[in-house]
């Protein structure tokens, strides 16, 4: 009996240490003078942990900045972080938790479209803003009046990339590899549709599941279709792995992909294999604009790494939310939503934000490419 108890205790300790570590610390700090609470849902652990942690870093940095300049409507802000682990079920469970807590006025997150869509009905029913920095699935923002996304949809981004590939780069035959989730399927579909509309040919389409590390089989198959270029609907991690393995197979060709590839990590992980890669951005860390320089310097100072597109979007989300609360003149959940919906030309780091009626942001894009293991503006060449 005592051994069973020991086993259970041991397990409880192991799991407890791990799962409580993140949220607990934050909550303690927040009790000092009843601040206004924002919930952040992000994959702090699991396959998407590095993206989620960038959310957390940016949001905390934004809150510190807001509080340093007096907070919002005279009150300080605080964030409660929930770890969705990149799992839609967890994301939905957290949504239940946030919406049932009257202290919380709005929610930022989650990272993947799949998670956001899973949690959407809960925010919709409870009436709480669900502001995702990164969900770009076309169905997300239009699914509920409470849902907003600031990344711009694939319906906006992909025609731009297809045009880049066909008209600027002159590719006619493209093979597609995409991750098999809501985002990847959507991205690949919008790209192929638009590329075909311009007169291009899609030679082959292959997909892979989350967590896959070996892409050699898929690449070997795509290679046989003999394309001019490869379209890669992947996060920068997988993108780097795919490129590395492609180079090992001795297959050299240009690569095109969505804005999710824009990250220093892509260069670090991919090395020489990611040269000759073309993508678009709405946030460019080497941009000389002063507000971007200030953000990048501060981020690097605090966390020792360069912020990427996702980090900038999370920062924008928090700043936008604070701005909406100011405009609403209230912390009422419903008032915040109304103010958010009315957002016009909010100056974000990743481009100015105006919401469509459905809650999508309209974005402007800049063409970039990787050359000598560095991101460069394409049009300056």
């Amino acid at each position: 009996m005592s051994k069973v108890l020991r086993a259970i205790l041991l397990l409880a300790v192991v799991l407890g240490v791990v799962s409580n570590g993140y949220a607990a610390g934050k909550q303690e700090k927040a009790k000092t003078d009843e601040p206004v609470y924002i919930a952040l849902t992000a994959p702090i652990t699991g396959d998407y942990a590095e993206y989620g942690n960038n959310f957390k870093r940016s949001v905390e940095m934004a809150i510190d900045k807001i509080n340093a300049s007096g907070g919002v409507l005279g009150r300080k802000l605080a964030v409660l972080v929930g770890d969705s682990k990149g799992d839609p079920k967890e994301s939905a469970t957290l949504a239940q938790k946030w919406t049932s807590d009257p202290k919380i006025v709005a929610q930022i997150g989650d990272f993947t479209s799949t998670c956001c869509l899973a949690a959407q009905p809960i925010y919709d029913q409870a009436g709480m803003v669900q502001l995702s920095p990164t969900a770009s699935h076309t169905k997300f923002a239009q699914g509920s009046k409470w849902s907003f996304s600031i990344v711009g949809t694939q319906a906006g981004e992909q025609p731009f990339i297809a045009d880049y590939a066909y008209n600027k780069l002159g590719f006619r035959k493209i093979a597609v590899i995409h991750i098999n989730n809501d985002w990847g399927v959507d991205t690949a579909r919008y790209f192929t549709d638009n590329f075909k509309k311009l007169g291009g040919t899609i030679t082959a389409i292959e997909n892979y599941f989350d967590g896959e590390k070996d892409f050699t089989a898929i690449l070997t198959k795509l290679r046989a279709s003999n394309p001019d270029a490869l379209f890669m609907a992947a996060m920068y991690n997988d993108g780097a792995s795919i490129s590395n393995q492609r180079a090992k197979l001795g297959w050299n060709l240009p690569v095109v992909g969505p804005s999710s590839l824009y990250s220093e990590q892509l260069l670090k992980l991919g090395g020489d294999s990611v040269n000759n890669l073309y993508t678009v951005v709405s946030f460019f860390a080497d941009d000389p604009k002063p507000e971007i320089r200030a953000y990048v310097t501060e981020f690097e100072k605090r966390y020792g790494l360069k912020p990427n597109f996702h980090a900038a979007l999370a920062y924008d989300a928090m700043m936008l939310l604070a701005d909406a609360m100011k405009r609403a003149g209230s912390f009422d959940r419903d008032k915040i939503r109304e103010a958010l919906q009315a957002t016009k030309d909010f100056p974000g780091l990743a481009g100015s934000i105006t919401f469509t009626e459905k809650g999508d942001a309209i974005k402007q894009y800049t063409r970039v490419m990787v050359k000598n293991n560095k991101f460069e503006l394409f049009d300056k060449r």
Binding site: K3, V14, N53, Y208, F209, K221, N237, Q245, K268
Partner: protein
């Protein structure tokens, strides 16, 4: 193209085979699936990464670090999950290995951060082309190393005194004890061996894929488990065969059907074997 897929499969299969052996050695002596195998693979990879980054750009040193780390983790898991839970239902130990797995992944996240790290390439030059397929030296190195480790383990298990002890404990630990074999130590040795194999596989795999991150072992561990079941969880030659076959079947599955079906192929094999031939291709009812 067929040649290329075969080479892809054999390279990937080498990693699967090492991990499948790790499962088999431990399952052999204890009839316990060590679900921390994938996490041990990851820890081995991190040990290799630290070595390459901070000590020396030497793959052999990295492999040694992976081996030692894996060995220690295996040893520790046995002490905590198995020995202290002796006499409790087997499920407690099983759950404890899952707990260990989560623990290691989270510890790695806390220490190293969730960001994927770049593992440098070694021997990345093209060795030769064969029927349109490109083979780099590292692939040959990986396959060669895996085969060497597999052979060494085979010799250890079948030709040495310690191996005989492992085999007897696997067949009948009570009688083994009566023959003067220290059952506890033999179980501990099996766990250490399994851990070491997984740790070294982690280094080999991370160099091949050029990445290291806390979750890199999850799918790898699960697939290797299918490979081990495929070949026969109680048979080391079976585990090796299972590892290579699974990878080759998966790769050709991608070629013939689609990449989206790759994992399905692996897990259909797993379920199929569990249902219809639970002892796998080569597994006997009760032997290592």
């Amino acid at each position: 193209m067929i040649v290329q897929q075969l080479i892809n499969g054999i390279t990937q299969g080498s990693i699967f085979a090492l991990l499948a052996i790790s499962f088999a050695v431990i399952y052999g002596v204890l009839r316990l699936v060590n679900f921390a195998t994938g996490a041990t693979y990851m820890m081995g990879a991190f040990a290799g990464w630290l070595t390459v980054r901070y000590i020396s750009q030497n793959i052999f040193l990295a492999m040694l670090a992976g081996l030692c780390t894996g060995w220690s983790i295996g040893f520790l898991i046995e002490k905590v999950a198995i020995k202290s839970l002796r006499g409790v239902a087997r499920i407690a130990s099983l759950i404890c290995t899952i707990g260990f797995s989560i623990f290691m992944i989270e510890i790695a996240t806390v220490i190293f951060g969730a960001e994927t790290k770049a593992m440098p390439s070694f021997f990345n030059e093209k060795a030769f082309t064969l029927g349109g397929a490109t083979v780099v030296w590292y692939q040959l190195f990986l396959i060669g190393t895996a085969v060497t480790i597999l052979l060494l383990l085979q010799i250890l298990i079948f030709k040495t005194k310690a191996g005989l002890a492992i085999r007897t404990v696997s067949l009948d630990f009570k009688t083994a004890g009566l023959m003067g074999i220290n059952v506890d130590r033999t179980i501990s040795l099996a766990f250490s061996l399994g851990g070491a194999t997984a740790g070294i596989a982690g280094v080999l795999g991370s160099v091949y894929y050029n990445i290291v991150n806390p979750t890199m072992g999850n799918l790898q561990g699960l697939k290797s488990f299918s490979a081990a079941v495929f070949g026969g969880l109680t048979s080391i030659p079976g585990a090796i065969l299972g590892g290579y076959l699974l990878a080759i079947v998966e790769n050709f599955g991608v070629q013939i059907v689609s990449g989206g079906y790759r994992d399905i192929i692996g897990f259909v094999i797993l379920v199929g074997f569990l249902l219809f031939r639970p002892r796998g291709l080569l597994g006997k009812k009760t032997s290592l």
